[in-house]
């Protein structure tokens, strides 16, 4: 079982990232997933969370995700001690930021990776929407999902030029983070 939490602001696609990851692992890797947003009213700009549980077997437990293996932060103005909440030893903290250092003291048990996904998104989408880029980074840095499954998910869930631009953004972020092109 892998549990992942996405931190973003309303409109940045934190839950869409969780849902796309769910499409990738269920429809293209024959695994199971439960993807859900932080429940409640949706407001543009307010802090929101997206969650996903992934397993090889059907997942029965729908209680809140309190422990996680990966935390993805889409917006560096959300960086505070909360992002470490429940992050397990050996867990991955993946942060979208243009800064070289994080304004946080990182616990020893956490592996942190910084990526300027917004800059890549501006380059390939023409918009500062970094959620699919962060999935590319996740694929490069972990065993959670393959790039191929993510590309298939994006092409299924998005339409026309948006699908192709996001697919390119995914690939380029994947390569930027050292993912090996297969």
């Amino acid at each position: 079982m892998v549990e992942i939490r996405f931190h973003g602001r309303g409109g940045q696609g934190a839950f869409t990232a969780a849902r796309l990851l769910g499409v990738a692992v269920t429809l293209f890797e024959n695994r199971h997933a439960l993807a859900f947003p932080s429940f409640g009213p949706e407001r543009r700009g307010s802090p929101v969370l997206g969650f996903i549980r992934i397993d090889d077997r059907k997942i029965a437990d729908r209680s809140s995700i309190t422990r996680c293996n990966v935390v993805v932060v889409l917006d560096d103005t959300l960086l505070d001690a909360q992002v470490f909440s429940g992050l397990q030893a050996g867990g991955l903290l993946l942060v979208n930021t243009a800064c070289n250092e994080l304004p946080l003291s990182i616990p020893d048990h956490v592996r942190t990776v910084i990526v300027d996904a917004t800059a890549l998104a501006r380059q390939y989408l023409g918009r500062p929407l970094a959620n699919t880029a962060m999935l590319g980074a996740l694929s490069a840095l972990s065993e959670v999902v393959t790039l191929q499954s993510l590309l298939a998910a994006v092409r299924q869930e998005m339409k026309g030029s948006s699908a192709e631009k996001n697919a390119l953004l995914l690939e380029e972020t994947y390569k930027t983070l050292g993912g090996q092109w297969q």
């Binding site: 769910g22 269920t26 429809l27 199971h32 859900f36 429940f39 029965a60 729908r62 209680s63």
Partner: protein, 387 residues
């Protein structure tokens, strides 16, 4: 069987997909969180003509169900969906639909009731309306939700039943969670669910009186027939599930589901999505040698009283976990389970009522383990325990 399509859907989207496959003639609904995305998807389907139905924009839930009753009274297949305060606003129409024997199918997103106002999940909305004459079923996941919508029309429209049916999904936890769902083909659903044919309708060729008055001399006779219809639905539900399993390859266990109850000493009884949190806990405790079990009630009406007795009679202690409280007494599910056990010919097990999850309060796997520990402890005189 035509190949089913694998899709990644939310519970609400699965309900909408099921409704489309069931081909209703009329949909009338008013939006309310967390039901809204069901009727948004249905409105899109009607707009793009992938669902050929009359979609009625009404000004309230009272009107939504009234419109469905009217449409059903001319022989149309109907669907509505609501939640919480919206369900309560329908309350008088719920009795009109069941008393008139109109097989309306409704999805209810289980949500708490004000005050304090809250949009999150508990089951006080539908359980407080257990006596309205509707068949009530509780889903555990999106697949079961979709399958129940298709089965619901076959059950509700059966000539021996002719009773409206409410399919309950835990708000947000099922309605807004995305998961893998197998979407049956239209051809298979058409073969499973033929068009709605009824004689209980306004018909110029066969004029009859509908939705009439019945005084003291006759009124109770109608109520007795209504009661018999819901009781007889138990048999029809099992028949429909068997036919569903043969066609779609997914088998459902009838009014309730049991897990390891054959030799269990300590059993949790619950309903809805929290059963999913209980399952891995039961597996874990079983692997440690603990004789624990789970009963998941699927149908609250008709109530599985014989099945409850069979599953629980041999246990030492039973906990009923529900997201409901009847203030001043105990949870309604507990009352129903207790009543079924009173008719057992053996000394019933010790019974505890765990009330939790009100207003969306999380119930974790650790909480469930604590409940089993509590069942093993000696009786301390308490019956209703808030968790």
């Amino acid at each position: 069987m035509m190949p089913a399509q694998k899709v990644f859907l939310s519970g609400n989207e699965a309900v909408a997909a099921g409704v489309r496959l069931a081909r209703p003639h009329v949909i009338a609904a008013y939006p309310i969180t967390p039901q809204t995305t069901v009727i948004e998807r249905l409105a899109e389907m009607v707009e793009d003509e992938s669902l050929k139905a009359e979609y009625l924009h009404v000004e309230s839930e009272h009107s939504a169900l009234s419109a469905c009753i009217g449409a059903s009274a001319v022989g149309a297949r109907t669907f509505t969906a609501t939640s919480s305060q919206g369900l309560l606003y329908m309350a008088e129409c719920l009795h009109y639909a069941s008393g008139g024997r109109f097989p309306v199918v409704m999805m209810n997103a289980n949500r708490s009731l004000a005050l304090p106002w809250n949009i999150y999940g508990d089951q006080r909305d539908s359980l407080s309306l257990l006596d309205c004459g509707w068949i009530q079923v509780y889903a555990e996941d999106a697949q079961e939700s979709l399958d129940l919508i298709i089965q619901a029309y076959a059950i509700a429209e059966h000539p021996d039943v002719l009773t409206p049916m409410m399919i309950n999904l835990d708000g947000f936890v099922i309605t807004h969670t995305y998961e893998l769902v197998s979407l049956p083909s239209q051809e298979d659903v058409d073969a499973f669910l033929p068009p709605f044919l009824t004689t209980n309708k306004m018909d110029l060729d066969h004029p009859m009186s509908l939705a009439f008055t019945a005084g003291p001399a006759y009124n109770q006779a109608f109520k007795q027939l209504q009661h018999q219809a819901v009781v007889s639905a138990s048999k029809i539900i099992c028949e429909v599930e068997e036919r569903f399993g043969q066609r779609f390859g997914r088998n459902y266990p009838g009014l309730l589901e049991t897990l390891y109850c054959e030799d269990a000493e300590f059993i949790l009884v619950t309903l809805g999505s929290v059963a999913g949190t209980v399952r891995p806990v039961v597996e874990k405790l079983r692997s440690l040698g603990e004789r624990v079990g789970l009963v998941r009630i699927r149908y609250m009406r008709p109530f599985p009283d014989t099945e409850i007795r069979n599953a629980l009679a041999g246990a030492k202690a039973v906990g009923v976990l529900e997201k409901d409280i009847s203030f001043g007494y105990e949870g309604t599910v507990f009352t129903n389970v207790n009543s079924a056990l009173m008719r057992a010919k053996v000394q019933p097990p010790r019974l505890l009522n765990f009330v939790g999850g009100l207003g969306g309060k999380d119930i974790s796997a650790e909480d469930i383990e604590q409940l089993f520990l509590r069942l093993k402890r000696p009786d301390d005189g308490e019956t209703v325990v808030f968790i």
